[in-house]
Symmetry: C2
Subunit: 345 residues, 2 copies
């Protein structure tokens, strides 16, 4: 039995403590691979309605905790709640990904407004409060937002992208305009995250899914600098808050990201070389990751070997077991159960 006087394992790991059995949670652990999620999802309106329905959002957040006993719950929401709440039109077509009315000019930028922002995101804060009340004290509660760069890519492209031409044209060709967008986003994201902390989030994760598409100098300017500024403001306003950064695809630049942004933990995508991260970043940073989510689809001996490898390489350093990217809907739920058993054996 766990000792309730101790901090939850996730926070101990983020304090730099290596644990014999690492805490575990999985990105997108509340999601379509679970029948109980699909049932709630079907009862909600569109996807953003679900994000703004505190009872339902809290319920889907808790489902995987009940089923698998993860060490952390992550608020069920979406990184595009921020642009939507700033006044940009955001829709989710089933199976097609998000669509936004793209922002390409300074006139387009004028559509964004912080008036009403707090009222709009209050539902999310309410979800966090419900979660904190419902959760066992040993289960950490993680709030999150997209990093300014990644959210900006959606806002400028208007959808997921292959080449990121529109957003890079703005960032490279009109950096003054792009800096204004990043500034608006950073301010809103700060307020949004502070509200999550005040509602009970103990850890914040910043998702920078498209960090890996920028060359070094632009990575410094649009990934590292805004993240660093946001982390500094958050830590100044709420001392003690733990922050995990997830600069997906950053490769070698993950080292600069960790050293310069001030995050406590760094989440590693599946292609990151884990032994390099341990040598380069441990124990100054708590590592998180980096199982390939598709191993959870295929299961079997390849999954077992990969799990054992991750546990072996991270032995003795502060570590949080996780995936390198979100669970995919095709994942058989029994493979997640097998994963948990193997980690905690």
């Amino acid at each position: 039995m766990r000792d309730p006087v101790l901090l939850p394992p996730l926070l101990r790991a983020l304090n730099g403590e290596p644990l014999a059995t690492p805490p575990v949670w999985l990105m997108r652990q509340a999601g379509r691979y679970l029948a109980e999620y699909r049932a709630v999802r079907a009862s909600a309106g569109d996807f953003l309605d679900l994000c703004h329905s505190p009872d339902k959002a809290a319920e889907v957040t808790l489902q995987p905790i009940r089923r698998y006993g993860f060490d952390a719950a992550i608020l069920f929401s979406d990184i595009l709640v921020v642009p939507d709440s700033l006044g940009q039109k955001v829709t989710f077509a089933e199976g097609e990904g998000p669509r936004l009315t793209p922002i390409r000019t300074s006139e387009d930028l004028a559509v964004l407004s912080k008036i009403g922002f707090q009222d709009k995101v209050r539902t999310v804060w309410r979800t966090v409060s419900l979660l904190r009340e419902a959760l066992d004290p040993n289960v950490a509660l993680i709030g999150f937002a997209g990093s300014p760069w990644t959210v900006a890519t959606y806002m400028v492209e208007g959808r997921g992208s292959k080449d990121y031409i529109a957003v890079k044209k703005m960032a490279y060709g009109d950096p003054g305009l792009f800096a204004r967008l990043i500034e608006i986003l950073s301010d809103a994201t700060f307020d949004y995250l502070i509200g999550q902390v005040d509602a009970g989030a103990q850890v914040l994760q910043l998702f920078d899914s498209w960090a890996g598409v920028l060359p070094e100098d632009q990575f410094r300017r649009w990934v590292i600098e805004p993240t660093k500024a946001l982390v500094q403001r958050l830590k100044a306003a709420r001392p003690g808050i733990k922050i995990i950064g997830f600069p997906k695809g950053a490769g070698v630049l993950a080292e600069d990201y960790a050293n310069e942004t001030g995050v406590d933990g760094i989440s590693l995508d599946s292609s990151q070389k884990l032994s390099w991260a341990v040598e380069t970043l441990s124990p100054r940073f708590t590592l998180q990751g980096n199982l390939d989510p598709i191993l959870l689809v295929s299961g079997g001996p390849a999954l077992d070997r990969a799990v054992d490898h991750i546990l072996e390489v991270t032995k003795g350093v502060p570590f949080i077991f996780n995936l390198g990217h979100g669970i995919v809907p095709e994942t058989p739920p029994e493979n997640v159960a097998a994963l948990m058993k193997r980690i905690r054996k």
Copy 2:
């Protein structure tokens, strides 16, 4: 005036010689951004017809050499010529990317046959011969193929992918079957490249566009090992042939790739940290890359700064100026002219 007794600059760089002005070519330099390409493309049937029309394929290969004076011509072709020539159905719908009848089972694998393969790819070898005759001796001729892993992803997925679930399910869940596919591909690719060398290609580039989606152990097994085997066979059969590997998105694992595969040069994608590559891989390997192709779309001061930065960081090491990925159709041709001027100023 260049001394014709010397090797072409590209080969000097691949021999490990640092040049005051690096040789330059650009991935997908023959392509839709050029009006003269679009004219030839419109006169051909479908995209694969163009790849199999030696006169037209040679013409589009030469167009950017005439216009910009690049230091190398790269055979105009496509990495899917190999599966198509092995008997898999491959089509290109305009603006939609390739579609293949996916290979998922050992029965599907039986569709592939080396009978007729050489007759099918002979047109490509003919293109290479025409090019070697047409090119100035100072301009190096590059042949290429996709690496087995990347070509296999298309063959199993049946198209470009976001999650690579189908190919990873096979690679992780049925590695014996996947190894047979990789073996068939490796053999065909070997023959295909030997034919290119014998027709006049002086350098070969292996494109591994999806190298970056695999975790470390799978990267070793499906990227490094097959590439190493292919490089060894090619170098044994045609001593002196120079080989450039392009493990896109490999991040930190690019070091292992370089050290273990036996390639002479390594092409770096745009997100790779160039100073790290210089410290880690120079001068044992010739570096190539890594300008973000979208900087060629936006142009202006950001492009100039990026070019100067690349030239500065690679000063004194063997280097080939290139992009981190292919030119995009939206590129204004005058930006390529400005790039050439700046590199050679």
